[in-house]
């Protein structure tokens, strides 16, 4: 029982972090049709900026200002670069963001070096929140979950109840009409791109000190967030929410499953030994392949339900 509950909590916190990272990407894609390959790089930038700010001013100013700075960077990228490339089509924008990810990686390495930086959890958030049976659940994981849920709630309220949110929703499907009504649609796009990047930056601020802040962190999460938005459905925020929770829980529980094809065959009487052909594959347990399960899910979704769990647009 202890194991099931603790693993559920761990899975949820990992899933919510994934959601924080991928929500921005979903918004940008549903708004502008641009698949931002540099999204994970903005996540990394958020973590490094938070490290820089927190070493001078503390964690809480970093929590506020680092996402704003990343959002500002995103807006500048959209206004002065992405918009110019837009006239050449979606593929060009995609290639541009792909190149941007490499440039951002090198800039980060030039500024902060190639070694991980000691961006640590603030002293006030260290320690256990509660003890379930005999396992402590860290305060910081609960904090990450709280930030993610607050963020989800705020985006939802923003999009449904504010004027700018209504304009964004309208520009999603009828950009020309919205422009004809006198709204500055390019500026809306710039704000959405900046907002999406700010969300990634916020994920970096809270995730960078729980996991390691190093130049490789963008590459590690980059592919997972694409899995999330494909499985959830391109363009659907709710879809990416459920997909990230699903992947978070799946990966976390999979670690506990020591079953392999070999053990399955063993149950029906076929003993597998090291000399059996294909032993290496048969002996692979679910636990040791836990980290690649999201990609297996991606392939299954693309084969059987390409529009994702709750997708609104075909890729």
């Amino acid at each position: 029982m202890e194991f099931v509950l603790i693993t559920l909590l761990n899975g949820l916190s990992y899933g919510l972090l994934l959601f924080m990272m991928s929500s921005g990407l979903t918004l940008i894609f549903s708004m502008m049709g641009v698949l931002n390959f540099a999204h994970a790089s903005f996540y990394m930038l958020g973590a490094y900026l938070a490290y820089a700010i927190s070493s001078q001013f503390g964690f809480w100013p970093a929590l506020v200002f680092a996402p704003l700075l990343v959002g500002l960077a995103g807006m500048l990228v959209e206004r002065y670069a992405l918009r110019q490339v837009q006239k050449y089509g979606h593929i060009s924008q995609l290639l541009f963001t792909f190149g941007l990810s490499y440039v951002m990686l090198e800039l980060v390495q030039l500024t902060w070096g190639r070694v991980a930086v000691p961006y640590l959890i603030p002293a006030g958030l260290n320690g256990a929140l509660f003890t379930l049976y005999s396992t402590d659940f860290p305060i910081y994981k609960a904090f990450m979950m709280a930030v993610a849920l607050t963020m989800l709630g705020s985006i939802y309220l923003l999009l449904t109840y504010t004027r700018i949110g209504l304009i964004i929703q309208a520009a999603l499907t009828h950009p020309d009409m919205v422009e004809a009504l006198g709204h500055n649609v390019p500026r809306v796009f710039m704000l959405v791109f900046g907002g999406g990047c700010a969300l990634a930056g916020l994920a970096g601020v809270v995730g960078g000190n729980a996991f390691v802040t190093e130049p490789g962190m963008a590459a590690t999460v980059g592919s997972i967030i694409f899995v999330v938005i494909v499985v959830g459905g391109m363009g659907s925020l709710a879809g990416s929410f459920f997909a990230s929770l699903l992947i978070g829980i799946l990966v976390t529980y999979a670690v506990a499953l020591d079953y392999s094809l070999a053990s399955l065959l063993g149950k029906i009487g076929l003993i597998v030994t090291p000399s059996t052909p294909g032993f290496a594959v048969l002996n692979l347990t679910i636990a040791s392949s836990a980290q690649i399960l999201p990609y297996v899910l991606l392939i299954l979704v693309l084969i059987f339900r390409p529009k994702g769990l709750m997708g609104k647009r075909e890729g």
Partner: protein, 418 residues
């Protein structure tokens, strides 16, 4: 043109003198050494430490003429902990005429390098490359895959596992052991050796778990910690190193897991800080050196100056063996030819920071004393120096003399003509 007698005499004398000079003095060469390792990536701080250590020893060797008139030049290449990348760097190095390669971490990379160097040496007689392995401890490299061109300067898995399981076996309170490792050559060999040796020494101990996780990619070990808790283990036995050990220890601390940890590499950068006060007296390690192991002048001076200069704790003892013994071999043979140097290294004894070590001729495995140490608070007597400024350090429980750490080998080495 008439050449008079004086000119003839002069030219003969000078030509003879030049020839004699050329024959009698040895060339003072600059010997290039390439260090191929994971300079970027999750293990970068470790490799930075290793690079600093190598540069320090190369400087010292050049200043104090360890290799006679010859000097060393160190070239650092980024293998990114990937066999393909490291082989590319090997090609770059060999194209530059480098004949000595050093590499530390990653048995997967080591196996690829040994294979590539064997093939290169077969195809390029006269340009053979020698490979110094500082930390890849998969036993195969000095058993079934042993090579004349490979020299290992760190105790292999069997040697270390023997030492640590002897200590583990003595503790009658240990009943359930959980083995966790990185899913590559080292982690797999570690698990195999652990199960064999524990079954032989303490058949009553239950192995309640045996996990392999992808190397350098898992950032959140809490699912594994939950699994360890659920298994009822009282001891975790792991060969994890670098970031994989730091994050494992961090996750254990976060979840309040209070098992023993028996490790190989808990002294590498980052892990002492993660252990901290919380892990006092619960973590044991088998190693070839700590900063509390020996108290002679050479050790004391090194510990102080290394920390002052580089801001990191000295860890890579194998680099002392590599540069020290290579220099000695070059001085002895008065040559930089790799075959002669390799033959000189076989059976060579060397006095290092941990005492006398010997490069065994049969399999090119270094034979060295080892220490079983426990993580505990600095007390000024048994634990004088701390690690990474934590106030805690390694107390030597037992020094295993060289003779007791010897393990058998199945190596059938093929040697080239001398």
């Amino acid at each position: 043109m008439k050449i008079n007698t004086a000119q003839k005499v002069f030219s003969t004398v000078s030509l003879t003198a030049a020839t004699l000079f050329g024959m009698s003095t040895a060339h003072a060469e600059t010997i290039k050494i390439a260090y191929i390792d994971a300079v970027t990536g999750p293990f970068a701080p470790l490799i930075k430490n290793s690079t600093n250590t190598l540069q320090m020893y190369v400087e010292r060797a050049n200043k104090e003429h360890w290799a006679g008139d010859n000097t060393f030049e160190l070239i650092v290449l980024d293998g990114k902990a990937s066999p393909q990348e490291s082989l590319q760097q090997l090609k770059i190095a060999s194209d530059q005429g480098v004949r000595y390669i050093i590499h530390q971490v990653g048995s997967g990379v080591a196996l690829a390098l040994v294979d590539a160097i064997n093939k290169f040496n077969d195809r390029n007689p006269g340009k053979e490359i020698v490979y110094f392995n500082g930390a890849s401890i998969a036993p195969a490299l000095t058993n079934s895959k042993c090579s004349f061109w490979h020299f290992r300067f760190d105790g292999n898995t069997d040697m270390k596992m023997d030492g640590i399981t002897n200590t583990l076996a003595k503790d009658k309170n240990i009943k359930n052991v959980y083995i966790i490792g990185q899913n590559y050559a080292h982690g797999q060999e570690f698990s195999k050796a652990a199960k064999e040796m524990l079954a032989a020494k303490r058949p009553d101990i239950k192995i309640v778990g045996d996990d392999l996780h992808p190397i350098g990619t898992v950032k959140d070990f809490s699912p594994y910690i939950a699994k360890i808790k659920a298994s009822g283990a009282d001891t975790v036995l792991t060969g994890n190193w670098g970031q994989d050990l730091v994050l494992l220890v961090k996750a254990a601390k976060d979840a309040g897991l209070k098992t023993n940890f028996y490790t190989f590499y808990a002294y590498f950068d980052g892990t002492p800080t993660a252990l901290g006060a919380d892990a006092a007296d619960r973590v044991k390690m088998v190693t070839n050196w700590t900063n509390n192991a020996e108290t002679d002048a050479a050790n004391t001076e090194l510990i102080k100056t290394y920390k002052a200069r580089y801001g990191q704790d000295f860890e890579f003892l194998s680099n002392e063996g590599i540069i020290g013994m290579l220099s000695k071999a070059i001085k002895q043979t008065k040559s930089t030819d790799t075959i002669k140097v390799a033959y000189a290294l076989e059976g060579m004894k060397f006095n290092g920071l941990s005492g006398e070590i010997e490069m065994r001729k049969a399999d090119h495995q270094i034979q060295e004393p080892m220490y079983i140490v426990t993580w505990t608070k600095v007390n000024g007597t048994t634990v004088k120096n701390d690690s990474e400024g934590t106030g805690y350090g390694w107390r030597t429980d037992l020094k295993i003399p060289l003779a007791d750490s010897v393990q058998p080998t199945t190596c059938q080495m093929v040697r080239p003509a001398q």
